[in-house]
Symmetry: C2
Subunit: 236 residues, 2 copies
């Protein structure tokens, strides 16, 4: 039976981390909220499920519903050989993903530092301050950590964990992709000193299934409704 | 061999979620950064580990180092019977914990909406806006979700998952405790309509090991350096 992924149909957002893993796995899945009436179904599941998701994305696998991006990837990674089989390696991969989730939340808050329920235009002043901090301190701190992990991987610098691709590699690709869209100037500077992160980003983009996915209509273009938004005044 | 927990020694912070689980488990552990030279050791591990934590808290179990609060609890819950043994139940407990982590991050940002590296006093104006939003919209949204989960638990309303205590129950206790310290007025209003969350909070506080812990010097009092801070101007 096909997986059903539920996420807002017009943005990459957090759902994109799940899409990338499903695509790389070659898994049979439906991007369910992009189907006709899909959002209404999504809202009904969130309201009525015995174990209700707090927010999208969530994955339905038969009767099992799993929310929280990192938990979904923990589940899929084990099933589709996109995480190490040994418990310590699996937990380390998950730990990296959780740190990526923190980074993504901070990236979101650059344009929504006050309230998710308000428009960007109603919190621009705060966004300018938060973005400056994010560009100057947080982007380097997070990306340097990934660079360090790649450098210290005893199996080689091509992957965050072990000697082959994990969902954490896919997620780091997506973060670099998103930040490069949102903060092109800051990211160009940052990546200069991060050859391993840069190489991983390029290698993931060239994987056959990922390349096909990125060129397909299944990949929603970046826009100013998602997590990674290009507001030139926030870059610098 | 005793677990070693590493976290900032003067605050409850994220480390407290781990402390509560270790205490309820009756596990043998050292709050390592509170020992002499402990912070220096903590910083050395973060800099030099083959799998370096991005930030505290992290747990050392022999040679294994685990960071990210939710990942630590996933690890401890399975070892100390504080999570269901069935995979779906274990993942659901983890999913609740990840949502608690999101809630905690938002609680932190009420007093640090611009930058973790700046003092509260340098972002008070932004904090006032963010806190109003947090009190009016986010506290009710998150706490209502927990109330719903308790109400829908087929094994009874006393626990978030199944018929006995999990680490998620301990974490929800701590969130209610922390928010009641930081936002006493807003929380008094919110809890009026959340009998199940209130009852769970009271029941956890009365568990023998938790009660003993809370009365001991191991429990660091809330203060204005941690995640949950009492700034009266942010409550209302």
């Amino acid at each position: 039976m096909a997986y059903e992924l539920y996420y807002w149909p017009t943005i990459q957002g957090r759902g994109e981390f799940v899409r990338l893993t499903l695509e790389e796995a070659g898994a049979d899945y439906i991007d369910a909220a992009r189907e006709s009436e899909g959002v209404a179904v999504m809202m009904r599941v969130m309201e009525n499920a015995g174990r209700p998701p707090f927010a999208p994305p969530f994955l339905k696998d038969g009767e099992t519903i799993i929310a929280q991006t990192a938990a979904i990837l923990l589940y899929l990674g084990a099933r589709h050989d996109l995480a190490p089989k040994d418990p310590a390696g699996g937990l380390w991969t998950h730990q990296i993903q959780l740190t990526i989730a923190d980074f993504v939340a901070e990236a979101h808050d650059t344009h929504h530092p006050v309230a998710v329920g308000l428009y960007y235009e109603d919190q621009t002043r705060e966004a300018l301050r938060r973005s400056a901090e994010f560009r100057q301190n947080r982007i380097p701190k997070f990306l340097n950590w990934f660079e360090t992990i790649l450098a210290r991987n005893p199996s080689g610098e091509a992957h965050l964990v072990g000697h082959k691709l994990t969902y954490a590699d896919l997620s780091l690709f997506q973060v670099v992709e998103g930040l490069s869209y949102a903060f092109p100037k800051a990211m160009k500077r940052a990546l200069k000193n991060l050859p391993r992160v840069k190489a991983l980003h390029e290698a993931v983009a060239q994987r056959p299934r990922i390349r096909a996915y990125l060129a397909s209509p299944r990949r929603i273009p970046f826009n100013e409704e998602g997590i990674f938004r290009r507001y030139p005044e926030l870059d610098g």
